[in-house]
Structures are given as C-alpha cells and as structure tokens.
C-alpha cells in the first residue's frame, strides 16, 4: 500500500527507540490481542462500537499526517472519507467485489484525490489551504448527489454478504477485525513516517516552510507525498462505512461531524506523535458513542465542540503535551 513510498533509510539509532520492524510487530500483536478480546466478548454491539471507534482512529491518524506533521489543516476530511465509502458502493455494485478489494481501490482513489488536491493547492498556505479543502468537500458532495448510479441524494443500500469469511462468528465481527487491522496499519505507517526522513522534512516545513525550502528540503515533493498518503488513509477509513450501517447517503457521509472529529481528535491527543490521534480518537469516539446511547445524538456533537474548545484553550499540545510538561 502506501508505505512503499517511504524511503527505506537506515534509522540513525535514536535512544531506546523501537525500530520500524519492531513497531510493526508490536502493532500486529496489539491488533491480534484486540481481535481476540472482542471475539471473547462476542456481542454485536461490542463489534459495532469498536468499529465506530477504530474507524475514527484511522481517520484521525490519517489527518494527522498532513495536519500534525506538516501543519496543513485539512477541513475536507469528510470528503476523503466519503470518497472511500462511495468507492466501496460503486465498486461493489459494478464488479461485485467484496470488502477487501474495495478498501484497496479506495486507497488508490483517496491517494489520487489527495495528490490532485495537493497539486491544485500547492501555492496556498495556512487558512487558504483549509478553505480550499472545504470547497473540495462541497464540490465532491455535489457530484455524488448528482450521480444516480451510487444512489444520488437518496442514498444507497449495501447488503452484508450472508457467508462470513475466515471463520468469524458474524459479519460484524469480520468487519470489526478488518478495521482493527486497518487501525494498526495506520498507526504503524504514521509512526514509520514520523521517525523517517519524510517526517523530519515535514516537521521542517511545518515550522518554517521558507527556511526548509532554503535548506534544501524538497517541500513540494514532501507535501505531495503527505497529501497522497493522508488522502489514501482517510479514504481507507471510510471504505467499510457502507457495510457498517448497510446504508449510506451523501449528507451523512459528507457530514461535518467527520471533519470536526478528524481535527478534534489529533488536537486533543496531541499532534506531534502517532500516539496523539490514537488517544484522542479512542477518548472522543468512546465518549460520543456513550453519549449517543445514553443521552442523544445531538448532545454528542456538543460534547465534541466543548471538549475541543476547552482543550485548545487550556492544553494546546494535547493530552500528550500535558504529560510531557509534567515530566
């Protein structure tokens, strides 16, 4: 997938840090344990809630590659997310493919979309880039609304296949396992980028783009790589969505709640490292899931808003920043 883009460079042996292979192994182990634990619980709601939370882990991690590492705020996360979801709808309708190939194609579509956005908005910095991505979201939504093959504004139904692959007890369990793997892969990719030369370059252009350019950092290429990887991963996050609810329609797939969550989660966790989006996504998505079940679904957006505002005011470096300072 997209990790092939990362230049395989010898790590310059930082202090007591896991190597790439070690981290990937650890992520695999964590994913396996999580799948087994959820299997142990075995309830459909546990699968649903875990899938809900983990899709946000993928989305937030993907957003953070561009937003946190490179400092480019993408308000169009919902556009990439929905692009992934609608890729699943279109591909499974046209070719009858199952979920896994759809996820692969969604990654390609999202990557291409990211690359296109990058090329179109290269000259824009800061707020302009943010607004351009917001526009992209509106344009894309208009196309989907007018594209009757994928249901237009009526939405589209996707039926879960009756036979469950790989000996899982239900399709919900299978879907959940797939999303667990995606989340682990997303985190491992983010970590690899962070400690590689690509991550250093992105950090340089985040701190001072002109200075980085002057120092010989290929800012243009790095930005394109970052937008492509981030876009591909956001689309991957959205690809399982049609199967999660069996129904999808433009207004909810492009809903601002995805955009606000994709931004809020990394900011609450801390944008500087891979752990930030993970912590933020798990906290905020669980909170929302709990609020949806116990209070109301209108209240959960209010919670996101309040938590986001409080955190950016009081803890500008996120939860991770709080712990770093105390140490």
């Amino acid at each position: 997938m997209s990790e092939a883009i990362i230049p395989a460079l010898p790590t310059q042996a930082p202090r007591r840090r896991l190597g790439h292979a070690g981290f990937w192994l650890a992520a695999t182990a964590a994913a396996a344990i999580l799948i087994l634990a959820l299997r142990g619980m075995g309830s459909e709601y546990a699968y649903f809630a875990a899938t809900f939370v983990l899709q946000y882990v993928v989305l937030a991690t993907a957003w953070n590659i561009l937003g946190g590492y490179a400092g480019y705020v993408n308000f169009g996360a919902a556009a990439f997310f929905a692009a992934g979801a609608y890729t699943t709808v279109a591909v499974s309708k046209a070719f009858g493919l199952s979920l896994l190939p759809c996820i692969g194609i969604a990654a390609l579509v999202g990557g291409a979309l990211g690359l296109g956005t990058g090329i179109l908005t290269l000259r824009l910095r800061g707020a302009y880039f943010a607004i351009a991505t917001l526009c992209l979201s509106v344009v894309l939504q208009t196309f989907i609304v007018n594209w009757s093959y994928v249901g237009g504004s009526r939405g589209a139904y996707i039926l879960r296949p009756r036979d469950v692959p790989l000996g899982f007890d239900s399709y919900g369990g299978y879907l959940c396992a797939v999303v667990v793997v995606l989340a682990a892969a997303a985190i491992a990719i983010a970590r690899s980028i962070e400690v590689s030369r690509l991550g250093l370059g992105l950090a340089a252009l985040r701190d001072d783009e002109a200075a980085a350019e002057a120092a010989g950092v290929p800012t243009l290429r790095l930005k394109l790589i970052a937008t492509s990887i981030s876009g591909a991963m956001m689309a991957v996050a959205g690809a399982p969505l049609p199967y999660l609810g069996s129904y999808i329609e433009p207004a909810s797939a492009f809903g601002l709640s995805y955009a606000v969550n994709a931004i809020a989660m990394p900011l609450i966790g801390g944008t500087a490292s891979w752990a930030g989006p993970l912590i933020g996504a798990v906290l905020l998505a669980s909170l929302q899931q709990a609020a949806t079940v116990t209070i109301s679904s209108a209240a959960n957006l209010l919670i996101v808003g309040v938590v986001l505002v409080v955190f950016v005011c009081v803890a500008p470096h996120g939860i991770i920043g709080l712990f770093r300072r105390r140490r």
Partner: protein, 293 residues
C-alpha cells in the same frame, strides 16, 4: 421575449439580489478574516444565531425583522468583543493562532449550532415581513421585495461601514491594524482595543446578515454550513480586506449560482460556485480584486 433570455435575465436579477445577501454575510468576515487575520470559521453559525433570534423576537413582538436585526447589532457587537478577548488571551498572545485558533472557532461553531438545536429545536424557522408577498414586475423580470429589501438594507449597511472605515479615526485605525500592528503602537493606539472593536463590528454584521437571511428563506440551526464555503469564497475572491471587492465578488457569486440553478437545476449550483473558487485559488490566490501581496 425569447423564454431563454427571460430566464437568463431573471436569473441574473435574482442572482444580484441574492448577492446582496451574500455581501452582508461576507462583509463581516472580510473584517475579521481579511483585516484582522482571525479565521472566524464560526461566522456563518453566528449569522444563523442572529437569524433564529430575529425569528423568535418577530414571533414575540411582530416588529419588522430587519429593524429587529439592527436593534440586535449592539448585542452581537458585545458578543464579538467578548469572543475576541478569549481568542486573544489564549491564542494570539501565545502566537499559535494558526491551527489552534482554527480549531477553536470550529469548536465554537459546533457549540453554537448544537446549542441552537437544543434550545429552539431542529425545525425551520421563518418570518413573514409585511412586504414579503409583494413582487414588482418590470416587463418580463420579477423583482420580489422579499429579496430586494434585505439586499438594499445590507448594501446600505456595508456602505455605512465603508464610510466609517475610510473617514473616522477609529475606522482608519482598523484598516491600519490590518497592515502593521506595531506601527499602531507607535501612534499610542492600542491594537488590541482596535481589534476587539473591529471583531465586534464583524459579528454585528453577522447578526444583521442573519436578519436578512431569515427574511429571504427559512432557517434552521444547520443552515450555516452551506454558507461557510460561500462566505470564505467571496472574501477570498474579493481580495480579503477590500470591502468593495467583497461586494462585487458577492454579486458575481450570486449571479453564477443562480444562473446555474435556473439552467441546470439547483443541485449543481454549489459545485459551479466552488469550482470557481478553487480555480481562483489555484490561479490567482490574491483574489480577483486583490492587490499583489
């Protein structure tokens, strides 16, 4: 007259009227985003707040909605000044307003919108102004007063704002803070006070635009979303800090949107308008009417 031509003329005229409304919405943002560099993404949410308060007050008192929105302006000014104090204290002073500040306003937007849903409910609210049912017919062209009156009031308010910015001392200080805030200190003017004042004006315009909006169309708590892209698009196309450019861009935007809607159906109009903005950003980032930076 050729029916296509009549349709086109009608589309252009009502587009211009719609553009008047957009101008009101964008003028406030042109101050905060264009002049003060405060990326207030919650601006349309405050507009909707204004619209719903006007609708509620209209239901209670029966006064003219546009009059009500003008009466509300001081309250919105105070709200804006308060918001700026918070923003300045937490972000501008620390110097990390870029991402954190954006996220702050994004969160504020959600709080306003969900707060409105919880307070007044998710349904649409509307007002019936005394002139709403009247339509002037000029030959083949319809001019509904429901659109004309808000547009005229909005443009008059923008005109007054432009006069204030150009001719009063405080107004010129606001224009100056956009260019060089340190120079302002040398003149013994407190840039923070000026920015607070200007941000208040910006939100007062949001409230006014809300009053105009609710005369034109029914409003619910989420109506602001479609306006986020629009108003930012207009302000950028207008060249950020130029009020005149902002008005021209708003009129152009309204016409493009409306003509597209009348010929290809309303569901296509956002794509065309935002496609224009993407092109402007890609080709001429300083805006159609902006100066070279």
């Amino acid at each position: 007259m050729d029916p296509d031509l009549a349709l086109l003329l009608n589309g252009v005229v009502s587009g211009l009227l719609l553009g008047g409304l957009y101008a009101a919405a964008a003028a406030g943002l042109s101050i905060s985003f264009g002049m003060l560099d405060v990326v207030n993404i919650a601006h349309p949410a405050f507009m909707v707040l204004g619209a719903l308060i006007v609708a509620l007050l209209w239901g209670a008192t029966g006064l003219d909605p546009l009059l009500l929105s003008i009466l509300l302006a001081p309250a919105f000014w105070a709200l804006g000044a308060g918001l700026y104090v918070i923003y300045h204290h937490f972000f501008e002073r620390r110097g990390d307003e870029a991402i954190q500040g954006l996220a702050f306003f994004f969160g504020v937007m959600f709080i306003v919108e969900v707060g409105l849903v919880l307070a007044v409910g998710p349904e649409q609210h509307f007002v019936d102004a005394a002139y709403a049912a009247t339509t002037w017919r000029l030959g083949e062209i319809d001019v509904p007063l429901r659109m004309l009156v808000p547009a005229v009031v909005a443009l008059a308010a923008i005109g007054a704002l432009a006069l204030f910015l150009r001719h009063s001392f405080t107004g010129r200080a606001i224009a100056a803070v956009a260019q060089d805030r340190d120079a302002l200190r040398l003149l013994a003017i407190d840039p923070i006070r000026i920015k607070r004042l200007a941000f208040g004006i910006s939100l007062a315009f949001a409230g006014l635009a809300g009053g105009a909006l609710v005369v034109v169309q029914p409003v619910d708590a989420w109506s602001g979303h479609v306006f986020i892209g629009r108003v930012f698009a207009i302000v950028i196309m207008g060249g950020l800090s130029s009020l005149g450019g902002c008005v021209l861009a708003a009129l152009a935007f309204g016409v493009v949107e409306n003509v597209t809607a009348s010929f290809f159906g309303p569901s296509w109009s956002p794509a065309v308008a935002f496609g224009c903005l993407l092109l402007v950003l890609a080709i001429r980032p300083q805006g159609l009417f902006g100066r070279m930076a």
